[in-house]
Symmetry: C2
Subunit: 255 residues, 2 copies
């Protein structure tokens, strides 16, 4: 079986890592759109256009299932991608929501993500329609922090305090990390938030796709990126914990 996974950059590798550990024999093809990262501050129209381009690239490899490992793209593009590809398409929003509803006792749930993800309101709507009270907060500096390799220390703690102070004063007992970069900040966020359950989508997603996945294949792993940025190699190692050779697929654009 062959799975395609795409993300705006390297953050989706946290999802790839979880899938690979749950289904070690499956063939995985990953595309990170590093030439246009981040998607988080961009408009819905642009995010949908970029997502369709990424999905069509992966579809050329005759994938059986597509995982959109980017919350921003999952917020806006999922329905369009299902129509375009004609194969099962999974995002990271629904699994995170399901997991949060499962672990929350008091049904007061917080969610953090990029500005686009939070402004899309998809997390909030899903959680509210399940009867939860929701507190949401956009944290635009978290991705650049992680991309800079800053995942602990004084600056990280200050920025976490800057964004999460309000959420901490609510009665939330569960916090959804609504961005695939955020699991790398998870220890620092947990330390700051105390007793709160922290939910990341990666493990929830692997449960969600399990019924569709046959764990058979050559265990191959291909990593494609649209740009070979200076920090790419370090970030791949930081997330996957191993040296993996990325391949470059430049885009052709016109204004």
């Amino acid at each position: 079986m062959r799975l395609g996974i795409f993300d705006s950059g390297v953050g989706g590798l946290t999802v790839l890592k979880a899938i690979r550990s749950a289904f070690p024999e499956v063939d995985l093809i990953y595309l990170g759109d590093t030439a246009r990262v981040p998607y988080g501050g961009k408009s819905k129209e642009t995010i949908v256009r970029y997502s369709v381009e990424c999905a069509h690239f992966l579809a050329r490899f005759e994938i059986d299932l597509l995982v959109v490992a980017c919350n921003t793209a999952s917020s806006y593009a999922l329905e369009v991608l299902k129509e375009e590809l004609g194969i099962p398409v999974f995002g990271v929003i629904k699994p995170g929501v399901r997991k949060a509803l499962e672990v929350s006792q008091n049904k007061v749930i917080g969610v953090i993500g990029t500005r686009s993800t939070i402004e899309s309101g998809v997390y909030q709507e899903s959680l509210k329609s399940a009867g939860s009270v929701v507190y949401a907060k956009a944290c635009p500096l978290f991705v650049p922090l992680v991309e800079e390799g800053l995942i602990e220390g004084e600056i990280v703690d200050k920025v976490i305090d800057f964004y999460l102070r309000e959420l901490k004063s609510t009665e939330i007992d569960t916090l959804i990390l609504g961005c695939t970069h955020y699991p790398l900040l998870s220890p620092a966020i947990k330390k700051y938030m105390g007793e709160v359950h922290v939910v990341d989508s990666a493990s929830a997603l692997t449960e969600e796709i399990a019924p569709m996945v046959k764990n058979e294949g050559n265990a191959s792993l291909s990593l494609f990126f649209t740009d070979h940025s200076p920090s790419l190699k370090n970030l791949i190692e930081l997330i996957l914990g191993e040296g993996q050779k990325p391949q470059l697929v430049p885009m052709l654009c016109s204004l």
Copy 2:
């Protein structure tokens, strides 16, 4: 006379503002590539490709002169753009270097910028070939801070300390802000650095182009952006200090 100006995003508006105040009657056409911002962490090949696309868009308006108001693009793409367009092309590197050499007493000069700008080495080479001692430092979090509207306060001070501590311990008497976003952090940087001359390229650039510019035209101002991101309006106001209506020119891309 008609000037074209492009930048990876909104930061170049600090340059536009300086040009407009020096030459109030000239027609100005600005393009911000907000759909692919930031350029700072991307590869040379990708930065050159994006720059050529932006320049060709502006060339359609029959501009007489092109200003590359982005340090990253100025570092890599200037020669290619001169060949492609056949009109005078000015970047922000050379004016910043000239100004720094002018104001520095001891010829020990610091330069800060995005990772790509600093890794390109253009500032360092120009300054060294003029006999200066140079200290350079990439500050990747400064752009996201400004884009988040954070230009003063505790987090800003911590991040400035994180990046500039080493520079502060050297004998530099002049610091070049090698990124068009950084002038917004200028007060905080000056406070931290103390007696050091802080050079931003915008005013130096207007002096540089003065011999080529006839201050005549309709004083028109057109702002184009490749994406209408959620924070665009706020950032235009933060920099230009006035409401200006941006126009959208989406890109067509293929992978």
